[in-house]
Structure formats: C-alpha cells, structure tokens
Amino acid sequence: MKDLKHLIYFEDLLQEAHNDLIRQAQDEGLKCIGYMCENVPEPLLNLPGCFSARLRAPRTGSMEVATYYLTSFLCEYSRAILERALEGGYNFLDGMVTPDGCTMLNRCVENMDVLNAVAAEKENFFYDYMEIPMKADYNGLDLYVLQCKNHILKPLAENYGIDTSDEAIRKAVAEHNRVCELLRAIGDFRKLDKPVITGYEYNVFCLASYVAPKHLIIGKLEETLEELKTREPDPEPWFKARVLVVGSEVDDTDFIKLVEESGAFVCADRFCYGSLPGRDPIVLNDEEDALTQICRQYMYRGECPRYMNTEKMDARREYVDKLAKEYKADGIIYQQMKFCDPWAYEKMMGSHILRKRYGHPVLSVDRPYAIGTSGQMRTRVQAFMESIDIKKIQKEAE
C-alpha cells in the first residue's frame, strides 16, 4: 500500500518522551501533566491551560539504576519509566497524577517523588495520588468524583490557576472526543476484509494521541482519515489471520510490528494505550455535571483487571468476545507485561474463558517492555498463525 503521508511524522514523535509537540505546547504557555494509568480520566488533564502526556520510555536501554530501586521483580514498564525519570527524561513535566491502581506504577512514582527525580527546580511541580474505585457502582462513582476533585482538579487550580469549572471540563471533553472520533473512524478501516491500514500504522497514530497535545495532532489525523478513504489496499491480503491483541500496557509499536511481520494483521487493540475502550468518545448530557458523567463512563467502560466485582470480571471477557466478532478476529493474542500481577491473573482467566466458553483461538504470552526483534515471540506468533490457518482449512473441509 502507498505510504501514509504523516506516518513518519508520528513515528518521529514517538521517538522521544519530550517530543516536539510537547515543546510547542509548553512554549504556548500550556502546562504538561504526566500520568501513567488509564484510570486517570484523560480529559481532566486536558483542561484549557494544560495537556496530558502519558509516560513512555522509548528506546530504553539499561534499567540498572531503576532496578536497584525497584528490584528486577517489578514490571519493566515501571522500571523503564523510573530509569528515564532519574536520567532527567521527564523534567519537562509540570505535574504528575497517579492512581494507587497497580502497586508497581504507584511505587515507580513514589520513588520519583522521594528521590525528587522530576522537575526538581520547578516550584509548582506536584505529585498527586488518587484512590480509584475497585467496583463499578454508585459508591465507586462517588469515590471517583471526589478523588478527581481532590487530586486532579484541586492541584491544577491551586498550582497553575487552571479553570476547572464545568464549562472548562466540557471544552476538554469536546477536544478529547474529536480525537476519539477521528481515531475511531481511522480504526474502522481495520474492519474491512481488505483493510487499508495496518495494525502497526494505527498503533502509531493512536499512541501519539496519548503522548502529544491533542489540539496539535487533530489536523494531521483529519488528513490521515481523508487519505485512508482513497487508499488502495493490497490486491491480496498480506496476512494469514486477523488477530485481536488484548492485555496489559503496550506502548512499544515494535510489538505490533513484530506480530504483523509474523503473518498477522492486528485488527483491534484492546490494551492499555490502545483505542478500545481508551478512544471511545465520552457522551455528555446537559442534565448532570460533566465530571460525574466522565467518571461514570470511565468507571463502567474501564477494562482494568483491578475492577473486582463479578459483573465487571464477566464483562471484560464479554467485551473481548464482542470486539473479536466486531473486528472479525480469527484469533486473540492475550499478552501481559512480564511481572505484571493484575494481568497475570486476568490473562490466565481470560485466555481460558475465551477459549472454552467463547471458542476463540487464544495465544497467551508474556513479554518484556521493549520487545525489539524477539525471535522467541516471533516464533510463537508464527506458530499461532499456522494453527489458525489449519483450523480454517479444517473448517472449510467440513
């Protein structure tokens, strides 16, 4: 297929945590608020006057210092982020909001806090820690709203004079939704039998929307959408099978690239930093305050395994099944970051239930933070593709 005009631009953006668009936005006087977890409602960090940057550690090499602080048993994501912080890689931030969601993320940020690793010279820099609900219900909603008020809106207002009114929140949601609508529309091309976008390309655009100021990428996303409407697909599909990738944090486009080089087409991305449900628009009405509506939607659509009530646990597997059908996935790759406790359990249960109850072929893998060109992973994905192929042939024969 013909190269997409802005792909290289977005790929370049992902090479650095402190990318050009962050620099540009800060030059415009906007404050940059860092976060690591999808349970922090993104629009609240994108109020007029500030923007969010979800932390990544691209081109991570050694993690020795972070390993000293966190030991080799914490997930590589948390270690890579801490390493980058200790190197000064996040000194561009103006604040950091983290939930006490998973222990590892929490400890990573606490280490940054105690070691004064980020933006030590910035007087108004703040760290704030939120509690987030573990069940999706009325009590969880009350908690979520209160936590957002106390640990996101309040520090933003007090430290930077950010307008946290309902009107400001609705403005942020409108901008957030525009990005989501564009990415949704771009992502829908993956549903086609002859898709005009690869999973890797989509992953690049989607990831960029997490790490760069949204108002500065809307234009290019709009152009990309127009481009895709007329892009010619390859005459024959380049892939053996369509796969849905599910699981924990994936901020490394090399992983999606590797999966696709092994014969798959990543037709849907149900992982942290992915678009499902991370790029679902937030629907607001005028009857209720925006903050409550945002929290409600984040809570009910959240796919984080720390939601522990039975309905949520069942809903996570149903959602994956629904996505697999919607995106016509032939199989599911259920991946987890090595040493991730929550996804270790969720992957075990999820893989099993999706196979036995829903009848999907599932490849269950764990992976390092930076996959590189891992031969092992490639072999596993290739073998999975072969097995799906064989199943298809057997089905046709029947």
């Binding site: 000293y68 602080y69 966190l70 030991t71 048993f73 914490l74 948390s78 006490d100 998973c102 222990t103 590892m104 929490n106 400890r107 990573c108 606490e110 280490n111 806090d113 105690v114 070691l115 820690y129 939120m130 509690e131 609900p133 573990m134 069940k135 009590n139 969880g140 009350d142 908690l143 209160l146 936590q147 106390n150 395994p305 720390r306 522990m308 009530n309 039975t310 646990m313 987890q336 090595k338 040493f339 406790d341 929550p342 270790a344 359990y345 969720e346 992957k347 075990m348 249960m349 893989s351 099993h352 269950s364 764990d366």
Partner: protein
Amino acid sequence: MAVKKFKKMVNPEPIKGDTRYGDLYKPHGKVRKRREWRGVGDTLYDYTRWLGIMFTLGKFVMVPRNVKAMFRYRWMANYLAVPMMVDRFTQGLRGEYLRMAHEEQDLIIIDVAKLLGNLFRGDRRIGNDEEFSKINVLVDENEMTAVMMGFPNLKSTSRETPSTYVSVLLNQHAAEHYIDVAQEFGLAGDVCPMPEAEAGVSIDDDAPILGACAIQCNTTCDGSLLGNGVISERLEKEDGIPVFQLPAPLRHKEDDVQDYAAEEIRRAIKFIEEHTGHKWDWDYYFECARRVNIATRCRNEWLDMNKTDYPQIFGGNLALYTETNYMAICGKVPEFERCDKRLMKLAEKAYKKRKMAAPEYRHRAIVWGVQSHFYMDFLVWLLNCWGIVPLTDMLSCINTEMIAETDTPENREQAYYDMAMLTEEMIMRNRTHGGYKVLLDDLFEFVEEFNADMIILWEHITCKALDGMHGLFEDKARERGIPLIWVDHQLFDPRVVSRQGVRDQVNQYMRTVMQEEPLDPTLEILDDENSW
C-alpha cells in the same frame, strides 16, 4: 554517620537444659531426634501442654467426618505436624517465655480445630449439614473479619486459612503442589505465592464447599484481589454461593476515602443479612469491640515493654498471636480476651524479674517486611543463633487506637468507620499500601522508638509493594548508619529460597559485616530441607 551500637546484655540466669539446639536435628530428617530438655520443671510443663495438644487432636479425629476429610483433602496431611510446629516455635524458650508461647499456640490450635470441625460439618462433600452450612459466611484468609462482629449466631469460616495459611506454618512444603497446579493452568510464576496457592486449591478441586454466602476482600494486595476472581469463578458459578467483593481503599491514611470504605462495610453487612436471614446485633458488636480494644491495649503495652531493655513478648510469640487475634478473631472469641490477660500477667511477672529469653542479647532488631511463612520460627532462630532480639515485626505494627465500644447512636455510625479502619489496616496491608510513609518512613521511626540497632528486612521477592521500596530502604539505612540485613524469600515456596538459604543471608552478614561468632554455632547450618 556512625553505626549505632548496642551494649551486649548477658543473661545472669544460665539457660537450663539443652543449649545446642542444632544437635536435635537429624541430617535430611523430616522430624527431630528428640524433644528439647529444658530442665525438670519446664520439660514437665512442656510435656503437659503436649498432652493437651494430643487431647485436642485426639478429640478431633474421634469425629468420623473429620477423618473422612483427612482422606479427601491433601492439605489435611499437614496437620500431622501440629506438635512439631509448637516445638519449632518454642525452641530455646524457658520459664515465662515458654508459658507465653504455649498460651498462644495451644489456643490457636484449639481454634483451628474448631474451624476445621465447622468446615467439614458444613462441607457438601463431607458432613453435608445443610442447616449448619447456612449459618456459615466464607471469608478470605487475608481479610479482617470485622464485618462479622455483629452476627453472634453466624460463623465466619475461612477455607484458605486451614488449607494454605496454617498448612505452610506446619509444613514448609505444604503449598508447593497448589502453586504448581496454578502455574500449570497458566498463572505466571512471579506472582505472590499466597494467592497463587489459594487459587491452586480452588483449581485443584480441594476446597470445602459450604456457606450461605462469601465476603471476599481485596486485602492484602493486587494478588489477593485478582486471586479472588479465580476462586469466585467457581464459588459463584459452580457452587452457587453468592459472593460480595469488599474493597478496602489502598490510600487508607487519606480522609477522602473513609466514606467509601464505611459504605462498603454497610453494604457487606446488608449482603450478609440478606443471604443468611440473620440481623446485625449491636449489643454483640460492642461486646466484640470491647474485646478488640482489650487486645489493642495489651498489644500496645507489650510493644512499650519491648522498647525497654527487657522486652518480653516478641518474636514468634508476638507475630503469630497478633496475626490470629487481630485478623481472624477480631474480638469475636472470649477465650482470646482471657488469653490476652494471662499473657499480660506472664509478661509483667517476667519484666519485674528482668528476665531474658536467651543467654545474650547482642542486638535489638526491627523485623520489617513480609515474613517467610514457611519459616516463621526464624524469629526464634535469630535469638538463639545470633542473640538478635526481634523486638517487633511489621505485621505486629498495626492499629493502636481504640474503637468505639459503647452503644450510642453516634457510636453506631462511628462503628462503620471503625470496621472500615480495621479492614483497611489489616496486618501487612496497613504497611504495604497507603503510601510510602507507612512502609518506609515509619520503619525508621520504629527503629528510634524501640532503640533498635539493626533492621532485618524480609524481602518477599514477589511482593511488588515491598520490592518497590528496596533502593530507598537501602539509601535511608545507609544515611542513618543502621545495619540492614536483607533476607530474601518466596513466602510460601521454600524451593526458591530454602530455610538454610534464609539463614545463610543472616549468617553471612553477621560474620562478614558484623564480624561476630554465633551464640549457638550448631544452629548456623541445619540440614532441614526435608523437614516439616
């Protein structure tokens, strides 16, 4: 900064009887050559308590369904080792210390025997007493049973406590089979082995099935939260036992989570009422609250005593009893109140006489982190082998505040917050979560308070909450000049770090850094890999 020094204390009273405890071990042996000779008086005392344990066990096996359960549940085999567990925890103890240990251990044994009896009576596979099953509410092992404090006629029954928690105390290898089962089904090997083993019991179809309903809690950690999901999949969908998930906030020191926590307690109580038909009883609740306060007062006094030169209730005597009384009992069993008072009497008596539990006290240590459950008697080994007095451990540094114990309308409202607080401040959980201050900063405050000159840091290698503070612990200990001994282990799995591996970490540090010789060299290297 200069390293803190502690002036060695020598016990003016010689220890009666055996003093070379390593000589009791058989190479590759499962059990010891013989029991300890403690002098005539203490040996006879220990013997009579052993008879009492035998009586408890004998009573237990006289009930046919308990024998049936023995042949059905793999984890029941570990209960063959009950007397040996007591021997391990009482090693080297004499006089009041021996009596304290027996007061606690023997009561715990009786309580666990009752728990097992209840489990098997209601279990569909064993006793199948349906009416009895209906008055049982299943609770997790790592869960404060505060929500049961107002139900005098219901039993809070834990399946995980006897199947994994107590089993590993009895037999270091108890959980290995279940850990392997969980991993065979795809669970990663780097998660905490406690919820992993609990999940393994459920997967392996080795959990009793009973109860009107279940209350699962997210304490202690991510692992517990997620492991519950594995268990509830079977409990709810296959066994038809409705489950309520009780979330205890992680940032438990913050005011803005307490309303949430209290509301969840209300909902849990309502859930129990709905599924059992029993109503909450405020009289019973405040009676239990009074007992909780007595336990808290006693524990506070014991810890205050431990801050002096003559600590009395420490090490295993403090750790195991606190875990049981605070978490599992939570004021519901009157016998524990009587035990608290007896322990207090013994402690005061020994304190007045300036008694010591070992020939020498060479170091005063705060034991921090999560204990290696398969080697809880490590604390008594520290004392006997190196003269290190484990003044307190992290799991005993729990709630020190009184809760409302008088029945008034205001106190009834306060009670939900008190129960929430107890749940949030569950043992271990109150330190591993709640921000770094409760784990990192508080440790060094305790070092000052207890006038300690050493830290023994249990590093449960797959406890991410603890691992995540590793470097900061090191940095701060170095800044303050406090010797910090890391003791790595894998909680329930001695195949990763054996008991000797645990000991070696201390041995090496004491010899190379502290340049000391052991108090009892026979305890330095023990061939107990096959031992219970």
